[in-house]
Structures are given as structure tokens and as C-alpha cells.
């Protein structure tokens, strides 16, 4: 019973914080709320018997990526986000690009609902499902990552490398020595 209670508490924090991330005018608060949401997600992973995934979530998302976000927000020094002109007009009179965005959002909601409805085993506790124990073990995770999913793994690392090189190229000013 306490586990169910903790699950609902963590879920509420995760969903509530995520909703507030979008609602904030101050980007600094958005970043912090996103960190809180990641923390709640890590708690949910622990409940799923996957401590390694939980810790990786904290290290990579809350510890590394969000620090970079914070860094950028501080450097840009944008204390308040002003609402765009079209934000105050009637939804139907907004420019095409804004309407396209809401279309995409609607599509995402439909997709999520479809995924949730068609997923199997969602009504059973995770412990009963096959393979749940394997996710928790670092050894099993590492083996699977470097054998079955090695192509996806290497492709991802190449993608990140490309993004990194691209950032360096873009950040270098014209005519400056490399």
C-alpha cells in the first residue's frame, strides 16, 4: 500500500512540475521545475526496480544537461519572457505557424493516447513482467547495449559527435584561427 502511495506522489510531482515548466514566465524557474520533474521520474525508476537507470537519469539529465541549460539561461540573462503579440489574440486569428504548432500538439496527444491504449500489460504490476529484472542489472544492460543494440548505440554517438563539431564550427567567429 505505501508503494502505491509513493507512486501516486511521485507521479503527481512529475506531472505537476512538467506542467508548471511550460507555465512559467521566468526561464530560471522552468529549469528548476524540470529538474524536480526528472527527480520524480528517477524515483519512479527506483520503484520499477531499476536503480541504475534512476541514477543514470539523475547524473545525465538532472546533473549534466540541466546544468548546461542553467548556464545558457544565465548567460543570455533573460529574466522575463514577454508574451508574443499573437498570444493575446483569439486562437483562430493567430498566424499560420502558431496554428501549425497547436496541430502538432494535438497530434502528440492523440498519439500518446493511442500508445497507452494499445500497450499490453499496462494493468499488471511490473514485477510480473518478463525482463523487468534484467533492466535493473548493470551487467545485463551493458551486454545488451553492446551486442543487440550496438548499431543504435554507435549511431547515437556519431550523431552526438556531429552535433558537437557543428556547435564548434558555429561558435567560431569568421577569420579566427581554429
Amino acid at each position: 500500500m505505501p508503494e502505491t502511495l509513493v507512486f501516486y506522489l511521485l507521479s503527481a510531482i512529475a506531472i505537476g512540475a512538467s506542467a508548471l515548466v511550460i507555465g512559467q514566465r521566468n526561464p530560471m524557474y522552468s529549469v528548476l521545475l524540470l529538474i524536480a520533474s526528472f527527480g520524480a521520474l528517477a524515483g519512479l525508476y527506483i520503484q520499477l526496480d531499476a536503480p541504475f537507470v534512476a541514477v543514470a537519469q539523475i547524473i545525465i539529465y538532472a546533473g549534466a544537461i540541466m546544468v548546461l541549460f542553467l548556464f545558457v539561461v544565465m548567460l543570455l540573462n533573460a529574466p522575463q519572457e514577454d508574451a508574443a503579440e499573437w498570444d493575446r489574440t483569439h486562437p483562430l486569428r493567430r498566424p499560420a505557424i502558431a496554428r501549425f504548432g497547436s496541430l502538432l500538439a494535438l497530434l502528440l496527444v492523440v498519439e500518446l493516447a493511442w500508445a497507452l491504449l494499445s500497450a499490453s500489460g499496462i494493468d499488471r504490476p511490473v514485477g510480473e513482467q518478463a525482463g523487468a529484472a534484467a533492466v535493473g542489472s548493470v551487467r545485463a544492460l551493458g551486454r545488451v547495449l553492446f551486442t543487440d543494440y550496438v548499431f543504435a548505440f554507435e549511431a547515437t554517438s556519431v550523431l552526438i559527435l556531429v552535433a558537437m563539431v557543428g556547435a564548434v564550427v558555429l561558435a567560431r567567429r569568421e577569420g579566427e584561427a581554429p
Partner: protein
């Protein structure tokens, strides 16, 4: 409530209490050691040999007026020191500090000395330590002061840079021990080579230990890497606008982070509570001695080496320390593979 739970709660409370004491003792030790290195006495008027000086300092800080700058972000200004000190305490949660014991045959089953025993302990310590940067960054930003902001910015850049070397140095030890649990890593270091040399990983990983210590000094913002609070340039850095208890929490977080870094170094490289002469039940004495020695080295370095320049710090971190730690990791991995196959 059964006895086992009570004992575990007692151990957690004791760990917490000792961490608070550690920060107070370190304030005293720092001033005393600095005094001796500069050929003077350091504090000696309050209590015998100035031993009550930390108490007087704490009392003074509690009595001071608490100020908040007018342009500060009130919420984050209050949240920042709380975050810093919470992360510092929480990081110690999975650090074991003694062998399994029955508390002098008081209990039927042995208990593990340490607040919590997690099978991914090393990673938990690393994860929570990396959260500590938020306290400093937020303090710098929410103060709405140039000096504080620059201090906070420098700190986040520095911590991101040195976290990499720190984690890579840790990975080499994880490879050797074949486990992410700190307790198992310590127990893998029991015994002796050739009957005399303790099986501590520091003898297998001398480069890794050096990298770990340098990165740990940078992670805890200590001299010679104390850029977030370089007083000649930034007044006091990220904590310039703080006063009273809210100010006191930052040095406390720093000292507790130092203690955690020293305790993790002891567990990973110096064999934890394993040592000659003492029976296993008194292993925690060895643990305390080793942690104390590392902390003394910390203070020793601070009052010996002058501060780096900021660009030198970044150069050193990215161009020397990180490549060295990667090479160390690759060589270790190759050797582990060779000897295990």
C-alpha cells in the same frame, strides 16, 4: 518497532551528527593548520587551545542579522543555501564507514555501518555530488549582483569540466572491483600482496588516485581551484550578498563535501576500514584516520599552492587531466581484460 530498525535509524542519526561535527572541526583544523604554516598560533583564546572557537563562530553567525538584497529573487535566494547543504549531506548517505558489526555482540545479526547500502553506491554519490552545483549557481544568480553572478558562472563551468575527469577516474576503480557497490569495493581490498603490501587500489591506480584527488579539490571549490570565491577579483564570489545562517550553510556544505570526497577516496583507493594491527570490529578507527589524513592534505594544499588563473584551470582540466584519466581508464580496462581472460 523492532531493534534492527532502531539500530539502523541510530546509525543514520549518528552519521548525520558526525558530519555536522566534521564541518565544525574542519573550520578549527583549517585555521590551526594555516596558523602553523604561517608561523603563528591560530585561534587559541576561546577554550583550551582555541577548541571552542567553532562554537563561538556558529553562535556569532546565528546572532547576525539576515539580509536579503532588494533586487534579489527571494525564493531562490533562500532555496540556494538549502540546496547546497542538502546535496552535501545526502551525498554521504551511501558511503559505508565500517565493517559489519554486532555492536560488541549486542545484536543477534550484524549490521552494516553506513547510512544506506545501495548496490549502485558509487553512482549515487556521484549523482548527488553533481547536484551540489545548483546551490552555488542559484546563489550567484538570485543575488542579482555582478560578483555573485560571475562566481556562479565560473563555478558551473569548473564543475562541469572536472566532473568528467572525476567520473572517469572512478570508472577505473569500478572496473577493478567489478562492482558498483562501495561496500564490495572496500571488501575487495582486504588482505595483502606478498604478506606486507595492503591490497589497496591506490597501489594499482596511483595515476587514478592523483586524478581523483585533483578533480575532487576542483569539485569542492577548494584552493588552488577556488575561483567561485576568488576574493581579489570577485569580493567573495557567489556568496557575496549572503549573511547570517544562510551564509553559514555554504562553508558548511563545502566542508561536508570535502569530508565526502575524502571518505569516498578512502573507500575506493585506501581500503576503507581495512588495516593492520586492529581487529575488524575497530575498522572504523582506520577509516577515521585515513579520512583525517586526506583532509589534512586538502588543507595543506590550500595553504601551499597559490590560486591558478581561470584560463589555466580550464586548459589544465580539458587538455591534461581529462586525457590522462581516459588513458588511465583504457590501460586499466585492457589490463583487467588481459588478467581476467
Amino acid at each position: 518497532m523492532d531493534l534492527r530498525l532502531l539500530v539502523q535509524l541510530g546509525i543514520i542519526g549518528f552519521t548525520f551528527f558526525m558530519l555536522i561535527n566534521a564541518s565544525a572541526l574542519l573550520v578549527y583544523a583549517e585555521r590551526k593548520v594555516m596558523g602553523f604554516m604561517q608561523q603563528r598560533y591560530g585561534p587559541y583564546r576561546v577554550g583550551p587551545h582555541g577548541l571552542l572557537q567553532p562554537l563561538a563562530d556558529i553562535l556569532k553567525l546565528l546572532m547576525k542579522e539576515e539580509l536579503t538584497p532588494k533586487g534579489a529573487d527571494r525564493w531562490l535566494f533562500t532555496l540556494a543555501p538549502i540546496l547546497a547543504v542538502t546535496a552535501a549531506f545526502a551525498a554521504f548517505a551511501t558511503v559505508p564507514w565500517g565493517a559489519e558489526t554486532t555492536l560488541f555482540s549486542l545484536l543477534d545479526e550484524p549490521v552494516k555501518l553506513g547510512a544506506a547500502d545501495v548496490n549502485v553506491g558509487v553512482l549515487v554519490v556521484f549523482a548527488i555530488t553533481s547536484m551540489g552545483v545548483y546551490g552555488i549557481v542559484l546563489a550567484g544568480w538570485s543575488s542579482n549582483s555582478k560578483y555573485s553572478l560571475l562566481g556562479g558562472l565560473r563555478s558551473s563551468a569548473q564543475m562541469i569540466s572536472y566532473e568528467l575527469s572525476y567520473a572517469t577516474a572512478l570508472s577505473a576503480v569500478i572496473l577493478l572491483a567489478g562492482s558498483l557497490s562501495l561496500r564490495e569495493t572496500v571488501d575487495a581490498q582486504a588482505g595483502y600482496w606478498l604478506g606486507v603490501i595492503p591490497r589497496w587500489y591506490v597501489f594499482v591506480q596511483p595515476v587514478g588516485f592523483l586524478i581523483y584527488m585533483i578533480a575532487a579539490i576542483a569539485e569542492t571549490n577548494r584552493a588552488p581551484f577556488d575561483f567561485p570565491e576568488a576574493e581579489q577579483e570577485l569580493v567573495a564570489g557567489y556568496n557575496t550578498e549572503y549573511s547570517s545562517v544562510r551564509f553559514a550553510l555554504f562553508p558548511q556544505a563545502e566542508y561536508i563535501n570535502m569530508t565526502t570526497a575524502a571518505a569516498v577516496a578512502t573507500d575506493l583507493y585506501l581500503g576503507g576500514w581495512h588495516g593492520p594491527f586492529l581487529p575488524p570490529a575497530y575498522g572504523w578507527v582506520w577509516f577515521l584516520l585515513k579520512v583525517g589524513a586526506i583532509l589534512f592534505a586538502y588543507i595543506w594544499v590550500r595553504w601551499t599552492v597559490p590560486r591558478y588563473r581561470y584560463d589555466q584551470l580550464m586548459q589544465f582540466g580539458w587538455k591534461w587531466l581529462f586525457p590522462a584519466s581516459v588513458i588511465n581508464l583504457i590501460v586499466t580496462a585492457a589490463l583487467v581484460l588481459y588478467f581476467n581472460a
